[in-house]
């Protein structure tokens, strides 16, 4: 039996495309066969003839027949992906990396701190946790964006707020005059002033732009969270997804196969983790 080719690609039909914000779209994909993954693992999504890039699905791992992937137009490949329409065909391969260690989150206060497109993997985690919401002591969601127009998943906020055990807070860096906004104003860390969790035992999962992750982490440490309880999603250049292209090497770790989620404790001494 030959080894499975790790580059094997599954065809995925694009069922729907949603414009989440001026720069972010979500794609609803149906792989040619059910695609199992663990929450927090990532896939390589390819646009035939153009290229591929790594993304964490933004839907729960309980959903294997179809998946949502939320993508910001940030470079060559994502710019082309943003031109994809319902009915087009893409390719997915994976899953790669380690998922979130949900076992370590159960019974605890769990805080999701996200900014911008960093909400995508956190939405996957949140949907998975909602499935088993009673397993967690509390779930607090703190989401930030630059402006109300940049806030993604707005239409789901009421749905999340309705789930018992979930506290949802959001903020924008600034709100232009005349725009309706019910949340706070200020960078995402301002939300941390309003939350009521036991910092010694709480778990925080942080995902967003590097600067937000950096200051988010520092604020959480100030609040008394332990470095080993702060989970960070590392964004690095990647090609293969499984530890062979070496592009994502962070010192002794590979962001792909040892991550993409690391605790702050694991990587705090590695070089330039915020760049």
């Amino acid at each position: 039996m030959p080894d499975k080719n790790p580059y094997e690609v599954l065809k995925a039909d694009v069922l729907e495309v949603i414009e989440e914000s001026p720069t972010i779209k979500s794609f609803y994909l149906k792989p040619e066969k059910p695609f199992e993954f663990a929450t927090g693992q990532f896939i390589e999504l390819s646009l035939p003839g153009i290229g591929e890039a790594p993304f964490t699905p933004s839907s729960s791992h309980y959903e294997t027949e179809k998946m949502w992937v939320t993508i910001m137009n940030a470079g060559f490949v994502t710019n082309e992906i943003h031109k994809v329409k319902k009915g087009d065909v893409m390719g997915i391969r994976g899953p790669y990396g380690k998922g979130y260690p949900l076992d370590k989150f159960r019974g605890k206060d769990v805080l999701l701190l996200g900014g911008g497109v960093g909400l995508a993997p956190l939405r996957c985690l949140l949907q998975t946790m909602i499935h088993d919401v009673k397993d967690y002591k509390s779930i607090t969601v703190c989401f930030g964006a630059r402006t109300p127009a940049d806030m993604i998943y707005k239409d789901q906020i009421d749905e999340w707020k309705a789930v018992e055990g979930i506290h949802h807070l959001c903020t924008v860096d600034k709100c232009p005059d005349g725009v309706d906004w019910n949340g706070k104003t200020g960078v995402v860390t301002v939300l941390l002033d309003d939350i009521n969790i036991d910092p010694k035992d709480a778990i925080a999962i942080v995902c967003g732009p590097p600067i937000m992750m950096k200051f988010g982490t520092f604020s959480l440490l100030d609040k008394g969270l332990k470095p080993e309880n702060i989970y960070l999603s590392m964004e690095k250049k990647m090609y293969c997804g499984f530890g062979q292209c070496r592009h994502c090497v962070m010192g002794k770790y590979y962001a792909c196969k040892d991550g993409p989620v690391f605790t702050y404790e694991q990587i705090k001494d590695e070089e330039k983790i915020w760049d």
Binding site: D3, K4, N5, P6, Y7, E8, V9, K11, S46, L47, P48, G49, I50, G51, E52, A53, A74, G75, F76, V77, T78, G91, P209, P210, E235, K236, K237, Y239, C240, F242, G243, Q244, C245, R246, H247, V249, M250, G251, K252, K257, E271, K272, D275
Partner: protein, 340 residues
């Protein structure tokens, strides 16, 4: 066992109808460079002397290959005249590409279909420095005591002592026996082999007498801000020759060459020394300065790979020194760091 050189030639002449045979030949340029080429019965090959210009990696991990679907061919191959620095290089690649849950499809095919006949060095190049890495100019076993070759040849006058290192080696011995007779190794043969080995070992040591053999590699990361990096990288033009010529480098980029009919991925060599290597879509990069890029190769070879595979990514072949257009000598870089 002992085989005469003329019998070995007879073996290659016969086996080449069934196996693709690769052996080192002198280049046609006016120097003493050796390169692996397909066996040609009309040309004189050189199994001993020193390492080839290109690492043997280039026969297992091509500059560009389709990985989906895999393009490697499973024709059986014999690659003879491989030196210890290249055996050690393959051991690193085996760890990186075969031993995890994800197996590199082409490398696996090339590796499985190949029989490696290594040979002791009998001479050195000015850049050879295996001794500084505690390696020898003849095979040393891996950390588990396993031989890294299928057969090894030690030149003794006009014959070779053959050592068997693996099951594949035993298979080859049977094939050799089909075309020629093998003699037993005499004490005299062994004596000559040991004398030859001692002589070449001394030669590599003499070439490297300016460098301390007691090298510490923690200093690379410990002194990551040292001026050594800035000083040496002044001359670096970021061409990537040092990584392309390295027996253990395997960084890759993937290109999607899918058509409407099928998905197709092509992998090509990449180099951490090239501009933009680690840059992400938003423009962020963990290595902003040229000296950080320059330093990365040293950290990767001596620190990261050691952590990843419990092996150094430098085998002491010295090819990066020969290939560098700026004449940067990595021995000098390491030496300077010892003295920081």
């Amino acid at each position: 066992m002992v085989v005469s050189k003329s019998d070995l030639i007879k073996f290659f002449d016969t086996i080449q109808s069934k196996f693709d045979v690769f052996v080192p030949y002198q280049t046609e340029r006016e120097n003493d460079d050796l390169v692996f080429k397909k066996y040609d019965p009309d040309k004189e090959f050189i199994l001993d002397k020193y390492r080839t210009v290109d690492p043997v990696r280039t026969l297992f991990y091509m500059p560009s290959e389709s990985v989906l679907p895999p393009s490697a061919k499973s024709n059986k191959r014999i690659i003879a005249g491989v030196k210890n620095c290249d055996l050690l290089g393959l051991a690193v690649l085996d760890d990186a590409l075969l031993k995890d849950n994800f197996v590199e499809p082409n490398y696996k095919i090339w590796r499985d279909s190949s029989y490696i006949i290594s040979c002791d060095c009998t001479d050195t190049l000015q850049t050879c420095h295996c001794v500084l890495l505690d390696n020898n100019p003849y095979p040393n076993n891996d950390t588990e005591g396993q031989a890294l070759f299928d057969l090894n040849l030690s030149p003794v006058d006009d014959k070779f002592i053959i050592e068997v290192g693996s099951k594949k080696g035993e298979e080859l011995i049977e094939k050799i026996k089909e075309v020629c007779s093998l003699a037993e190794v005499t004490d005299k043969d062994k004596e000559i082999r040991e004398a030859n080995r001692a002589e070449v070992l001394k030669k590599v040591r003499d070439i490297n007498s300016d460098f301390t053999p007691d090298r510490h590699y923690d200093v690379i990361t410990e002194n990551k801000e040292a001026s050594v990096w800035k000083d040496f990288c002044n001359e670096c033009v970021q061409c990537g020759a040092c990584t392309n010529i390295c027996p253990t480098c395997y960084c890759l980029i993937l290109n999607d060459e899918s058509t409407k009919e099928e998905f197709r991925k092509v992998r090509s060599w990449d180099s951490c020394q090239l501009v933009g290597y680690a840059e992400v879509a938003g423009g962020g990069t963990p290595r902003e300065h040229r000296w950080e890029t320059f330093r990365n190769r040293y950290q990767c070879k001596y620190n990261f790979m050691k952590f990843n595979f419990d092996k150094l990514g430098c085998t002491g072949c010295g090819r990066c020194i020969s290939a560098c257009p700026a004449e940067i000598d990595l021995r000098e870089v390491i030496q300077s760091l010892q003295e920081v």
